[in-house]
């Protein structure tokens, strides 16, 4: 398939390794990867602060980067940004062209689970990982059934990763409780955010896993800052890095 990458600002500027792993794994799976120009930000920092006027220019710039781009899917390795892009594109542009872009948007796990499943992994991943099920991915994109919900359960993240030879998947206590990042919440509500992050980092470390693995770079950046401040014996990895290492 021909895949256009949606690389959010945080990944582009601060976590390029997540983008690189995404490109490499998609290419190993036989896809053609392109990077449409003109992407900056999905507008989430502004809309989550209620500032829709301030978000409009940025959001439309991102939307325009994808309008008319010839591709089968637009894939993003960041769930929260993807949700915001979907909502904000719709908020500011209700044209059929905008809807066509929205219809092609997929978060990476979602893409690898629903659209183009991986037939086999070539290499083992000889480590125990503690899965970070971030809020927007599970509660807004249905990547996994949230713990509050009763009835049948799905978990696309685990379903994709468990096919990797030798991988051991565990979960932290209160496994889908928020890590406390919350965008500007991390700054506005520094003390409460940090306590949430500390509790989450410790819960991951207590599993004895080598890596805390997640699909949302912003949560991973927050966890990484907490883990290093608390000097906990665990590191963060994005699922793209784990999948890329096993292909």
């Amino acid at each position: 398939m021909k895949i256009a990458l949606f690389i959010p600002c945080l990944v582009n500027q601060m976590m390029p390794h997540v983008g690189i792993a995404t490109v490499e794994l998609l290419e190993k799976l036989g896809h053609q990867v392109i990077l449409p120009k003109g992407q900056t930000c999905c507008g989430q920092p502004m809309t989550n602060s209620g500032c829709f006027d301030e978000a409009k220019k940025t959001t439309l710039k991102l939307l325009n980067a994808f309008k008319g781009v010839e591709c089968d899917a637009i894939v993003c390795p960041a769930a929260s940004c993807l949700v915001a892009a979907k909502e904000n594109f719709h908020e500011f542009d209700t044209s059929p062209e905008a809807q066509a872009v929205i219809n092609k948007l997929y978060e990476l796990t979602e893409f690898l689970h629903d659209v183009a499943p991986i037939s086999a992994f070539n290499k083992p991943f000889n480590h125990k990982i503690s899965l970070q099920l971030s809020c927007h991915g599970i509660r807004m994109l249905d990547l996994a059934t949230p713990s509050e919900q009763m009835g049948p359960r799905t978990n696309k993240v685990e379903a994709v990763l468990k096919a990797i030879p030798n991988i051991e998947i565990v979960y932290p206590g209160r496994h889908d409780e928020c890590c406390g990042f919350g965008g500007t919440f991390a700054i506005d509500e520094g003390a409460v955010s940090a306590k949430m992050g500390k509790d989450k980092a410790q819960a991951h470390a207590e599993t004895g896993a080598k890596y805390a693995v997640g699909f949302d770079p912003s949560c991973l950046l927050h966890l990484d800052g907490m883990i290093r401040r608390q000097q906990l014996p665990i590191e963060t990895l994005h699922i793209a890095q784990v999948i890329n290492a096993a292909l």
Binding site: F52, P146, C178, V192, D199, R229
Partner: protein, 459 residues
């Protein structure tokens, strides 16, 4: 612990709460235990998600036919010999209650749990008119003796440890110094409250549901205190918000199946009492209060907050509430539902930002109140009204322009990455604000992803 609702931002109050980390851990664990009990109770019903959907639909239906159901309720109440009063706000509610009590020369009123009377600040009003008010729910009585407001809508004294309750009871009720055994303290409270019930001139309760086609009110308690009150004195009063009415008993049955399960994990409250008329020779009054609710109904998104049945489940699951405490919100009702129904009363405008938009509350809610959506909407309303907290009105327009420009974003982030790489942490920390105060700064890469892609994939 601070008892006053002073006007500091939620962030400031949360920061103060977080200074005692072991207490935060204790508070968070106590409330998470309720969430775990809720999960077990909800999980034991195969039809749980259907009940949530039914609850949501029946509340929405009632809210969209509210006038019709309230009038039906009033007519059926009157047919049952119940006197119905309408109050447009808290002040009018308090005046009506006082008038009813004054006519009967009531000196002592026993009250069972009612968040509405907290919302209307009824107790201080009646006390200023010489009427003694005794809250009879154990948790409510504890905080009344401690002169504190509730910190939770279902377990109002959850912020106090048993040792603190022991000290309080020693001081106020004469229990043994240093005694903190819950059974001993509960027995002391029971004896104390029994005297109050027997000497009261009138009783008042809140209302969990009002049944339109029967003219009856439903009151749920675990301690039987509402029933002890309502059945002893000849005068009984029940205060309810206009959002409490439901069409019929079947509707109430749906909500009763989820209410206690979602609150404390019990299949049902110990007492679910249906009152549909006064005692022989007695009087029964129902006061129906608006206090801003019809205004909320006019906003399609805010209106859904009125589906709430006050189970408190959203507070128990909220990671922010558990770590900032009930007094950090500038409203009588804390937590996600407090933000949803109380943000317009917060002078600091910070309440809608006491939330990471994680969405756990929305998924826990037994009537599917879209709490995260409502909180997000409150932020937008605050922005539109020019009431943004935390300096957002100054920096957000800058961020908006900055993010919309690749040149500005790329240049400045390139400088930032270099600074993060080459400058010592000690030098950066003073400039890193709340992030660096609590967390290590990110390890900065050499270049952006886009630069790597252009170099390695030749675009």
């Amino acid at each position: 612990m601070s008892t006053s609702h002073t006007t500091a931002s939620h962030a400031k109050k949360g920061e103060i709460f977080c200074q005692d980390e072991s207490r935060v851990d204790w508070h968070s664990k106590a409330l998470w235990a309720l969430r775990e009990k809720r999960d077990r109770a909800a999980g034991s019903l195969p039809e749980w998600e259907q009940l949530r959907q039914l609850g949501s639909e029946l509340k929405l239906h009632t809210l969209t036919h509210l006038g019709q159901y309230l009038e039906e309720f009033e007519q059926n109440c009157q047919a049952n010999g119940i006197q119905v009063h309408w109050a447009k706000d808290g002040v009018e509610h308090n005046q009506i209650v006082h008038k009813i009590l004054a006519e009967k020369q009531v000196k002592k009123l026993v009250k069972s749990k009612s968040m509405l009377t907290e919302e209307c600040h009824l107790n201080p009003y009646l006390e200023s008119h010489g009427i003694e008010v005794i809250d009879t729910d154990l948790g409510e009585r504890i905080i009344q003796l401690a002169k504190q407001p509730p910190s939770h809508i279902v377990v109002p004294a959850i912020h106090l440890k048993k040792e603190e309750v022991g000290d309080l009871f020693h001081d106020k009720l004469g229990t043994d110094a240093g005694a903190s055994d819950p059974l001993y303290l509960t027995r002391a409270a029971r004896a104390h409250l029994r005297e109050q019930f027997l000497s009261a001139d009138a009783a008042m309760t809140g209302v969990n549901m009002a049944i339109a086609n029967k003219g009856a009110v439903v009151v749920c308690t675990n301690e039987g205190n509402a029933d002890m009150g309502a059945n002893l004195p000849k005068l009984q009063l029940h205060s309810m918000g206009i959002d409490k009415v439901v069409p019929d008993l079947d509707s109430a049955a749906v909500l009763l199946r989820t209410l206690a399960r979602n609150a404390t994990g019990q299949p049902v409250t110990t007492y679910s009492s249906f009152y549909r008329g006064p005692q022989a020779d007695g009087e029964m009054h129902v006061i129906i209060v608006d206090n801003g609710r019809t205004k909320m109904l006019q906003d399609k998104i805010l209106a859904e907050a009125l589906k709430c049945i006050r189970c408190g489940g959203c507070l128990n699951t909220c990671p922010v509430y558990r770590r900032s405490g009930g007094y950090s919100y500038n409203y009588t009702i804390p937590g996600p539902i407090g933000i949803a129904v109380g943000s317009q009363h917060d002078a600091t405008n910070s309440m809608p930002w006491a939330c990471t938009l994680c969405g756990s509350c929305t998924h826990v809610c037994p009537t599917k109140v879209p709490l995260d959506k409502i909180i997000h909407h409150h932020r937008r309303l605050k922005a539109q009204a020019g009431q943004l907290p935390y300096g957002k009105s100054t920096y957000m327009p800058l961020v908006g322009n900055f993010m919309a420009s690749e040149t500005m974003l790329n240049c400045s982030m390139s400088v930032a990455r270099t600074a993060l790489r080459i400058l010592p942490g000690a030098l950066l920390k003073p400039f890193s604000g709340a992030w660096g105060k609590y967390r290590e700064l990110p390890v900065a890469p050499n270049s952006s992803f886009e630069a790597w892609f252009n170099k390695n994939r030749g675009q």
